[in-house]
Symmetry: C2
Subunit: 237 residues, 2 copies
DNA sequence: TCGTTATCGGTATTCAAGTAGCGATATGAA
DNA sequence: TTCATATCGCTACTTGAATACCGATAACGA
């Protein structure tokens, strides 16, 4: 049994001088810790903001953005506040600044080089994925263990033999790798990449990579969204 | 200010007669509401369980499974309890039953037919994705608007013109579709599919689909994991 | 046979994310 | 000029998931 005794003080609004989320985001934009779900929504926001800017909008209001994306306006507003750009009543957020701030928060403000390892069917598809360009990500090299693939060109990127990977990654100072090799080969590739200076790996294989501290692995598992979908169908369908 | 006064009663363990999560999962396995994160972890569990069974294990303990996947043992145990299979002290869970229960929870216990719409580079890659077979999912037809692609065969599946889609989906009674068309074409395709009887859509385009109630859309956005990764690198790297 | 112990399964707590409600304000209309 | 209102940004609350902790039990070794 719990007894709550609450002394309640009426909330005081401080609209004119930011002191909450917004203030923290404005003060140190680089070290601002974003909630994971917010980070995941940012790319969607960026796309919508871009489209609205193309349509001539100079200001983006959270309600309009939320409507467009099927989200809650309050949630959207909180996400945008995290970017650290103040908005204006009855107008919204300045579109250009907002986009720049979100890009900065995601580390997409400056061009990033990446390599792709494993030019099979999934790897080839990713080489042609237009979305990477939106995110200032350019795939500067691709590698594959299959000697027959090596030498070919896929979507404008030359595929090289795996043996050249370590040297080239080191020479180009690439810090990000996209891993689309078979599960059995993933760990070995990851180790070579880390050794050559890679600090972030987007892992499409189903291997559980073990990497030294400081290296960040983000797993992408196509089975996960399928699991969510088929569970939902099995229950509600 | 809050003051909590708590009268504390010592927890009573009822090991021998299930009365918590496990009991609820055992009673009505079909209507058991699984937490979303649990559903997302299930495919990973299934893979690991399969490998351990191939290695001759008849029992799976939560600690071993957790160690293998880099997860917390308690979290793993709770996930497994959700499946509704009781475990045994010092042994673990019966592997075969556990796998069957998880498959049942995800709706992967019986074979499911699906169609793929959009046989571009990503679509072709998915046609070759081996993971779908593990999940009892078979892609029975593929469609594309490009007349040059129509007629070709990709990874053993014949690509047909988009005009045949509605009729064929209806005739084969397919309820699940994988949508890999360009964003501009996505909404129109979705409407045709729903009209033809599809109840679940795995949407790889970046369009925000609007569908009638009862139809479930699961979006897959390759930009999301990249956002998480690059944000992490920007902050910690 | 009997103690040891790895593992299960329960309750309680903590933490993170989403939701609710509202005062403050600038814009646009009357 | 004045008023109505859409929208911001704050605090507080609710919900859901992860974590902590521990009694009960069956397998195993001595």
């Amino acid at each position: 049994m719990k007894i709550f005794i609450i002394f309640y003080r009426y909330p005081r609004c401080t609209f004119n001088r930011p002191c909450g989320i917004l203030a923290r985001a404005m003060e140190n934009p680089k070290e601002n810790p974003l909630p994971l779900p917010t980070i995941r929504r940012y790319p969607i926001f960026l796309r919508a903001i871009g489209e609205m800017m193309d349509a001539g909008e100079a200001f983006i209001s959270s309600s309009v953005l939320a409507e467009r994306l099927g989200l809650d306006p309050v949630l959207t507003r909180k996400d945008l506040a995290m970017a650290g750009v103040p908005g204006r009543p009855r107008r919204g957020y300045p579109a250009e600044e907002l986009r720049a701030a979100i890009n900065r928060a995601l580390g997409w403000d400056s061009a990033t080089d990446a390599v792709l390892v494993g030019a099979g069917s999934l790897g080839s598809a990713l080489l042609g994925y237009a979305g990477f360009k939106e995110q200032n990500l350019s795939i500067v090299a691709a590698f594959d263990a299959n000697p027959r693939l090596a030498g070919s060109t896929v979507h404008g990127v030359k595929v090289r033999p795996l043996a050249e990977m370590a040297r080239l990654v080191r020479r180009l100072k690439v810090h990000l790798a996209i891993l689309t090799v078979p599960t059995a080969a993933a760990q070995a590739c990851a180790e070579t990449l880390v050794e050559a200076g890679v600090r972030g790996i987007l892992n499409f294989s189903s291997a559980q990579l073990s990497v030294p501290e400081g290296v960040i692995v983000q797993n992408v598992d196509l089975a996960q969204p399928l699991a969510v979908l088929s569970h939902a169908i099995a229950r509600h369908g």
